[in-house]
């Protein structure tokens, strides 16, 4: 099976360690991966802002670039949802490539049937459901199953883990007051768990949460699920 890595643009540029962690875990599970270097962005920022023609151009590009892969794995529920749920609307049809694009936790649990990846992370963590992973890809238990198998990890649920962090891409700069208030509500909920780390499938949510935590000098750290799973 040829498994391609789809590393979304902001992970490539801002959070490369998330991509590297995903590769580490996949290699540990003896999955052969490759990285098509032509990839750039899935087009979600344009799509969500209403520029569907621009997004469609990038959708076609994605389908070409990943045409040879049997499966495409990405450490982002959001970008995976863009490809699997929204490309078919842009392109007028689903293709093998769009249908076989998976979020990392989803790929591990649903396709490899693995929940214990041999990780160790002795910390108290809380899990934030990313909206796209949860409501577009319907991944609720899969990330938690993986976390529960991590040695030493204590998972504490926050109040309303399913409430949006307020990022929403261009929404967060178009309506920063709303986005900030949502961020504040989310962080309050995270704080009440007493967790040292907040974990999510999506680094965009974590960027939003981390931006608030750091500005307020709060002691909680953010970490992607991939990085937790890569820890030993």
């Amino acid at each position: 099976m040829r498994v391609a890595l789809f590393i979304p643009c902001f992970i490539d540029q801002l959070y490369p360690n998330v991509g590297i962690a995903m590769v580490t875990v996949l290699r540990r599970l003896k999955v052969d991966v490759y990285y098509p270097p032509e990839q750039t962005c899935c087009g979600q920022p344009a799509f969500n802002t209403g520029y569907w023609d621009e997004a469609c151009t990038l959708a076609k590009r994605y389908v070409d670039i990943f045409a040879e892969a049997d499966a495409i794995v990405s450490p982002s529920g959001s970008c995976t949802a863009m490809v699997r749920n929204f490309y078919p609307e842009l392109l007028g049809k689903a293709t093998k490539t769009t249908a076989h694009t998976y979020e990392f936790a989803e790929f591990l649990v649903k396709h490899l049937g693995v929940t214990d990846v041999g990780a160790r992370f002795p910390q108290r963590v809380t899990y934030h459901d990313s909206c796209h992973a949860l409501r577009e890809l319907r991944l609720k238990d899969e990330p938690r199953q993986l976390l529960r198998k991590v040695q030493g990890l204590e998972l504490v649920e926050m109040d309303q883990p399913e409430t949006c962090c307020g990022f929403g891409g261009t929404f967060s700069v178009k309506f920063p007051m709303i986005s900030y208030a949502m961020d504040e509500v989310k962080v309050t909920s995270i704080q009440s768990t007493g967790a040292q780390y907040v974990v999510s499938t999506d680094s965009s949510c974590l960027m939003q949460i981390d931006g608030y935590l750091r500005r307020q000098n709060l002691p909680i750290k953010t970490i992607s699920l991939a990085e937790v799973l890569a820890s030993t």
Binding site: P37, A181, Y212
Partner: protein, 464 residues
């Protein structure tokens, strides 16, 4: 592009999101709602299937609306009622005023109706010298305060008991109390007299039933029942999308609406109005009029992609699920219908340009879509509205240019890398630029690392 409606929205949203007392009140009231919905939901043997069935019935209704509307009209007429087809809000208002004149109406009692809010009926009545009294407790409080409903189901969700007591003291001169029953009794004492002396009762309609020509009303206070049965004339103003095909469909829709609206199995009062008083009947109005309101709904009906937004039964579940609503509150939207459904339908029902910003005021989290009892794909419709706004040229030209430039960069890994390097250079020096400023004003943006993933891969992983 910037419009006065957008500027107003930004001002109101800024004020409300900074108002922590408002946030606390709303979160508490919505948490109470959510707890009772959760308790109520278990009474459905198969909730997902109930939603699907409701969506299927609504789909059939909306896609054959012409037929069902005519069937409804035929049956209302056969029952001795009257039907008026109002194409616009002005048509509906004019017809109500004409009926008021014809019957020498001095005072109208109203039960809760969002369609009358939509057509600004109270203002028109007052201007014509007819006193309009809201009789739903929440709406009555709104009227005393000179406010519009904050929520389509719970008009004063933003108020505490203390706020209401204060309103009553200021407007009615009653003593302050934090006892809900005492507050209710104050309103009841005032309203009883209004019911007995009103000449016309105006209601909305939760459902209009095609095969019997009936209007179904749900309520918890008994005020709607008094509104349509005591005065001489009853006028029901109903959006054309409120049709359901058969009386038996209420077996599903009544509990569905009660559960999603308030977490009840059924509301305290459920009424079916089949026409004016018949000879053998003891009470009821002498005349029964139904105004079928279009007011932009047929524009939405003509849009096959978004037509299902007309499935809405106005339960308010999407508002209660919406994190944006919970932070900006109902008034900031500036619309009759707030929250996700309002942001979907308002650009269709009203000026598309003036309201183009509302679909953008969402993180697209999708909680609304999951909450909707008739499975309207709300957050995807917000995306459709955004696309339509761009296609119609309502977008900011600078933004348009930036997305074209961005696309140009994304089409080539080399240009992408150059753009990323420039961006990282700026960010490391703390230049967020006007694009990121709104975000970085109150949050720390991550510092781009020295090495991107693609650099890492090129150096460490690339194999022949």
């Amino acid at each position: 592009m910037t419009t006065p409606t957008l500027q107003q929205f930004e001002r109101d949203a800024t004020a409300k999101t900074a108002d922590l007392r408002h946030r606390a009140v709303i979160q508490k009231n919505i948490a109470t709602y959510q707890a009772s919905v959760a308790r109520g939901r278990v009474r459905f043997a198969d909730w997902p299937n109930a939603r699907s069935r409701a969506a299927t019935i609504k789909w059939d209704t909306i896609n054959h609306l012409d037929r069902y509307l005519e069937q409804f009209e035929t049956n209302v007429l056969a029952n001795g009622g009257h039907v008026f087809w109002a194409e616009t809000a002005a048509d509906a208002r004019a017809h109500v005023l004409q009926l008021a004149r014809l019957h020498g109406v001095k005072k109208v009692v109203k039960s809760k109706s969002m369609t009358t809010e939509e057509i600004h009926l109270n203002d028109a009545l007052e201007a014509a010298g007819v006193r309009a009294v809201e009789t739903d407790l929440g709406e009555y409080i709104c009227q005393l305060r000179g406010e519009h409903p904050y929520h389509i189901i719970t008009p004063v969700m933003h108020l505490t008991k203390a706020d209401i007591a204060q309103t009553f003291q200021e407007k009615l001169g009653t003593p302050l109390t934090d006892n809900a029953e005492e507050l209710t009794m104050i309103a009841r004492a005032k309203l009883r007299h209004e019911f007995l002396t009103a000449d016309m009762g105006i209601t909305g309609g939760n459902f209009a039933i095609a095969d019997t020509g009936m209007i179904a009303l749900t309520e918890n206070e008994g005020n709607a029942r008094l509104t349509f049965s005591l005065p001489r004339v009853h006028v029901a103003i109903v959006g054309i999308e409120k049709l359901i095909p058969r009386l038996e469909d209420l077996a599903l829709f009544w509990p569905l609406l009660a559960d999603s609206g308030t977490g009840q199995l059924m509301t305290a009062y459920s009424s079916l109005i089949g026409g004016p008083r018949q000879e053998h009947e003891a009470d009821g109005p002498q005349e029964f009029h139904v105004i079928l309101l279009d007011n932009g709904r047929t524009r939405l009906l003509a849009d096959a992609e978004q037509r299902d937004a007309l499935h809405c039964i106005r339960c308010g579940a999407c508002l209660n699920a919406c994190p944006v609503y919970k932070n900006i509150g109902g008034h900031a939207y500036g619309t009759t219908y707030q929250g996700p459904i309002g942001s979907v339908i308002t650009p269709h029902l009203r000026d598309a340009h003036d309201w183009a910003h509302l679909p953008y005021a969402s993180s697209l989290c999708g909680a609304c879509t999951d909450a909707c009892p008739v499975r309207i794909d709300l957050h995807h419709h917000l995306l459709h509205n955004r696309r339509n706004a761009v296609r119609r040229g309502f977008d900011n030209p600078i933004q348009r240019f930036l997305f074209r430039a961005w696309l140009c960069a994304m089409l080539s890994p080399v240009r992408y890398a150059v753009a990323a390097t420039l961006g990282a250079f700026a960010l490391r020096r703390g230049w967020a630029g006007p694009l990121l400023k709104p975000w970085t004003a109150r949050r720390d943006f991550p510092t781009p690392p020295k090495q991107s993933f693609r650099d890492y891969w090129r150096k460490n992983e690339r194999r022949a």
